[in-house]
């Protein structure tokens, strides 16, 4: 879902025919460049969502090591039995 939001943000910040605001060949007109902020936001957002994906994956590994399955129904049953 986050990826979709990033695509939305990136699409918002893109204008056909313009490039990132890095001065090349001395062109300094605003109309030649796009707004860099949406791209910056996407970059920050990607870092954030990568770390939470990593956390979710490591949790998945923990669950698999403990219950030898990734079927959430079976895990829920096993957890309930454990607690009884």
């Amino acid at each position: 879902m986050d990826t979709a939001v990033y695509l939305f943000l990136a699409a918002e910040g893109f204008i056909t025919g313009r490039t990132a605001p890095i001065v090349i060949n001395g062109v300094q007109k605003v109309s030649e460049y796009i707004n860099p902020i949406p791209s910056g936001l996407v970059l920050t957002g990607i870092v954030v969502s990568v770390s939470s994906s990593a956390l979710l994956l490591s949790l998945t590994i923990c669950l698999y090591r403990r219950y030898q399955t990734l079927d959430f129904d079976r895990i829920t049953m096993a957890v309930k039995k454990e607690w009884m």
């Binding site: 902020i37 949406p38 920050t44 770390s51 956390l55 979710l56 454990e82």
Partner: protein, 494 residues
């Protein structure tokens, strides 16, 4: 610029710095560092509070000295100072009270990791309270989520793995919606700082243009943050998360984490969208209905529980419902009552969790009611703490909970169209609260079995429980200055 204006930024960076330093330390030293940090941050927040109370105005701190609309800002006011002080003090007390359980339930090799999460959690809570920039708020919302998941899964049992997966998935949904709303707001206003965004939103509303995208933005923000704070239909992650994690984590999660998001929501309502636009719109009506449903359904689920920690967790669902009901009243009084209830709940819930653990420690570590019979005699301190917390939750005079219910009732009466449903549900919910909390209090004071058990004194609990009780009764007896401070803080919030 006075020294106090620098303190919010310093306290946030101090927390982040300690979190970065902790992996290199041993578990014991990380614990010491965390406790020193929390004491320092509490002192700094109290200094900010007394400074802003003295000047009666808010201040803006420019990060990196770039002026608005370019730079990043931190804003300190009376409300921010008050909430930051409360959050840091409760964090410190919850940690002290839960320390003996942390030593038992957390793998000693991973002890320093737990304190990284605590430091990060404190940093993100402070940032959510102080920040004046929407994207900074989003980043710290995510840091908060990850730190919270770490706090849950550090007790390595099957239940907490499942609970933290549930929590992460729901939270990711919430932050995704929040990010989407920020993207839309940015494309409408071109601003990420709250003040310039507010000016742009006012212009848009005055011109009547882009009204639908603006409404969608408000709705997405509200739903996103409501999911993260556990408003009624999105509460499914709460009982497991609060019920099975180690006790300090349960106290911190229920007392502070969900409150941080509500504070952010109030901030966005007041400082970005504008309170008059929110109050005249339909959003507040929707929050009102969900808040009322939560108040009843949370209590009904709590009555059915047989596990005392899960019961307290379900009671949190009801209390979050109260807060949203106050926001949904759509008046200044409603918001004041909500903020006061945030404070009440933040001091009562950790007390209940800590006391309940103290009781279950002397009942063979069982949290089931039939085992807890007579526990109040076996551990008198925890018994007294639980009773005070329970009476405050039910809303008896003398305790903080009474004042917040009184404020809700006063706020409801001022709005004729919402007064009747609000008062009826308030009464109904109070009765339901009384049913399960007083039932528990009676259970723990039913003399059966062995009444005197020799046990080692739990120093952390012996410090935290009395302090929580004193704060609770203090807030109940001398509520007027706090209410005045909240009111003054909201006035300068716009």
């Amino acid at each position: 610029m006075d020294l106090a204006c620098n303190l919010p930024a310093i306290s946030i960076f101090l927390c982040m710095g300690c979190a970065i330093a902790s992996p290199a330390l041993s578990g014991k030293n990380a614990k010491r560092l965390s406790i020193i940090l929390l004491i320092t941050v509490s002192a700094m927040s109290l200094a900010v509070l007394s400074y802003t109370l003295g000047t009666g105005e808010s201040f803006v701190f420019l990060m990196g000295r770039f002026p608005a609309p370019w730079g990043n800002e931190i804003r300190g006011g009376i409300l921010e100072g008050l909430l930051a002080s409360l959050f840091s003090v409760i964090m410190l007390l919850s940690l002290t009270g839960g320390m003996s359980h942390i030593d038992v339930e957390v793998d000693p090799k991973k002890l320093n990791l737990y304190f990284i999460m605590i430091d990060l959690m404190m940093a993100s809570l402070l940032a959510l309270v102080y920040t004046n920039d929407l994207f900074t708020a989003y980043v710290f919302v995510e840091i908060n989520t990850i730190a919270a998941a770490g706090l849950i899964m550090i007790r390595q049992i099957g239940r907490t793995y499942v609970a933290s997966i549930r929590y992460l998935i729901m939270s990711q949904l919430g932050s995704g919606l929040f990010l989407l709303s920020l993207a839309m707001l940015y494309s409408l206003t071109g601003q990420l700082l709250m003040q310039p965004a507010r000016d742009a939103v006012e212009c848009l509303f005055a011109a009547g243009s882009y009204s639908e995208p603006l409404i969608v933005t408000i709705a997405l923000t509200t739903v996103g943050l409501a999911i993260k704070s556990g408003l009624y239909p999105f509460h499914s992650w709460m009982p497991d998360t609060y019920g099975y994690s180690t006790i300090a984590s349960s106290s911190i999660l229920s007392g502070l984490v969900s409150k941080g998001y509500i504070v952010l929501l109030i901030k966005i309502y007041y400082r970005v969208i504008g309170s008059d636009i929110i109050m005249s719109g339909k959003i507040s009506n929707i929050l009102f209905v969900f808040g009322l449903t939560g108040m009843v359904m949370g209590s009904v689920s709590a009555i059915r529980e047989t596990d005392v920690k899960r019961m307290i967790a379900f009671s949190s669902v009801a209390q979050i419902g109260y807060v949203y009901m106050g926001l949904g009243l759509g008046t200044e009084y409603g918001v004041i009552a909500s903020i006061f209830h945030i404070m009440t709940h933040a001091i009562s819930k950790p007390l209940l969790f800590l006391a309940a653990t103290g009781l279950s420690d002397v009942s063979g570590n069982s949290k089931r009611f039939d085992q807890l019979r007579g526990a109040g005699y076996r551990n008198p301190l925890a018994g007294a703490g639980f009773t005070i917390g329970a009476l405050s939750m039910v809303g008896l005079p003398l305790f903080a909970g009474f004042i917040s219910k009184l404020l809700f009732a006063e706020a409801a009466v001022r709005d004729p169209s919402k007064a009747l449903p609000a008062l009826i549900v308030l009464a109904l919910s109070t009765i339901l609260n009384a049913v399960y909390f007083l039932h528990t209090v009676i259970t723990i004071y039913t003399p059966t079995g062995e009444l005197h058990v020799k046990q080692k004194l739990n120093i952390g609990l012996a410090i935290a429980v009395p302090v929580f009780c004193i704060i609770n009764i203090g807030l109940g007896l001398f509520s007027q200055p706090v209410v005045n401070a909240i009111q003054a803080g909201l006035r300068i919030f716009d």
